[in-house]
Symmetry: C2
């Protein structure tokens, strides 16, 4: 009703008590008689009082605001990771706000600095490709508990990842078992750690089975990029009968390319994706893929961050989740 926004002081005045008393009532600490408690609560409700965490965190040092820095929030896999992490953290009374530097290292730098300026209490982070080590120093200097995921950039930082090599080895073996002899690897930005690991698994199986050197095509991470890459692959290597993809988005794009070229995914050419995003099961034909439980991954992330916040001296935690082959319609024996 009246002027300025509600503060402890304005509530204290209305309730006829001191500021610290109101503070204690709001937080449920200290000794307060039931009578004054009611008076204070009433005044607070009346003014729609909401405590100012900036002031609180400055004084108390505690900060229940977490940042989540992830590239490409529109990727459904990422969205699921976010959802898992946020649910857990919110249930513990933290607020999670999301930043998306869109894999631009400069923008990421700016955002992380803003992040520090605004005094966050913790960070969940997929580092952009080419993140310089100084960025970690900066976070450490300002004492921000950090967990990276998907991309491991620093050995001194808690991390949650995927058993990438294991997963692509499973995928490649499966295709080889079906009888495929020319198996390509499609997609992923050239520099990413994740892609490097996945290609290792793919190449290990090729080598082990004597299927010759790999055919490896990088691409962006969306459907359009996957489609373009597959178009190019069909021209450059018409003998390929199976493709392991760096992600479901790329795989779905590749399927579109095949359909446009009159090739039925799963009959003419087999395609395996990675992630098991929702589209993978909805698409026609439904996508065979290496499924990761992104929600679980998000929860694990959040749990490690909470542990780190509560036990700062804990040794570095690293946790890898594995992926599971889900066979749908885009894989079959070679023609």
């Amino acid at each position: 009703m009246s002027a300025g926004k509600p503060t402890l002081a304005s509530v204290a005045k209305e309730a006829g008590v001191s500021v610290p008393t109101v503070s204690q009532v709001m937080r449920g600490t200290g000794r307060i008689s039931e009578e004054t408690r009611q008076k204070v609560l009433e005044a607070a409700a009346n003014q729609r009082y909401v405590p100012d965490s900036r002031a609180a965190s400055m004084r108390s040092g505690e900060n229940r605001e977490i940042g989540l820095v992830i590239n490409q929030i529109s990727n459904p896999f990422n969205a699921e990771v976010i959802s898992g992490a946020v649910s857990l953290l919110e249930s513990e009374g933290y607020m999670v706000s999301i930043l998306d530097p869109r894999d631009d290292q400069v923008r990421q730098g700016r955002q992380l600095e803003a992040f520090i300026r605004h005094g966050r209490g913790g960070l969940l982070w997929v580092p952009a490709v080419d993140t310089p080590p100084e960025t970690f120093d900066l976070l450490r200097t300002h004492g921000i508990p950090t967990v990276t995921f998907l991309r491991r950039v620093s050995r001194n930082c808690d991390h949650v990842g995927i058993r990438n090599a294991e997963a692509t080895a499973t995928a490649t073996s499966y295709l080889a078992d079906l009888g495929h002899r020319r198996i390509a690897y499609l997609g992923g930005s050239l520099m990413t750690y994740v892609r490097k690991e996945r290609i290792e698994g793919y190449e290990a199986v090729l080598a082990q089975r004597g299927l010759g050197p790999g055919i490896i095509w990088p691409s962006g991470d969306d459907k359009r990029a996957g489609m373009d890459a597959m178009d190019a692959l069909l021209v450059g290597h018409p003998d390929v009968t199976a493709v392991v993809c760096n992600g479901d988005m790329v795989a779905l794009g590749a399927c579109y390319s095949l359909i446009r070229s009159g090739i039925q995914p799963g009959q003419g050419v087999s395609v395996i994706g990675f992630d098991d995003i929702e589209d993978a099961s909805v698409a026609v034909p439904a996508l065979t893929t290496m499924a990761v439980r992104p929600n679980k991954l998000g929860q694990k992330l959040a749990q490690i961050l909470l542990d780190r916040i509560r036990t700062p001296d804990m040794p570095v935690m690293v946790s890898d989740v594995s992926a599971e082959l889900i066979v749908r319609e885009t894989t079959g024996a070679p023609p």
Copy 2:
């Protein structure tokens, strides 16, 4: 190197000057000799000093932290809106952090309260379905400049929307011109404002052309939901030859359903989407849709918020962007 994190005081000590002097140097205000300026900058760089905006905003009242509350960040249309708004705001020195209440009104309430607690300087917001009016009062009490978009819930709040009725009228007319007589409307959560407006445009054209009462099927907003809804529609109304969809995700799901039933979208049944997300042009067959420029929409949003922040007494601003019909492969004459 040393203990605690860098502050104005620690920098001042190292540079041998007072705290206000350092503050002035960091902000480029006041009168400072070049000599002390250099001393201070050096000390600040040496300690990797980053100002604490919490303290700054408390004292100065200025707050360059903006919240963006949007449901379903994984929807590519939303992701583009976000990108447009964030780019503009960041270029003006604001930090934007994203919250996703996933259309849950309770979660939204909790998040907005946390939002206020943490003292944000502005809000871009797609209100969840069923947002109670008290939520607006709360924001007003705490003096947070707010712009809603897509869903208009309060007449007293700045807003950016889409000319929904106009767009679906265009889509429906186009289908009628092609010769369709049984045109259904598919998708959208029952309660949303957006859907209501879109159905108005659809029904207006049906009435005007004497095409009888509409056939209206609600559904969720993702592909799976669109697929299920189309499955049901095929059973319930086998005479339908064209479908106007509430969004591209629903439309793409509907196409999957048609393909699975052996019907070619654009030949057997025509489908028009809404939004023009990236998938719309990549999909096979490519989707005819009502295109909105989400990036523009995001920028407009940001601009209005900035105006509101700078001119709090400005009259309520409402801006509607129009959508454009993009004909691709999922529409054609009825069989």
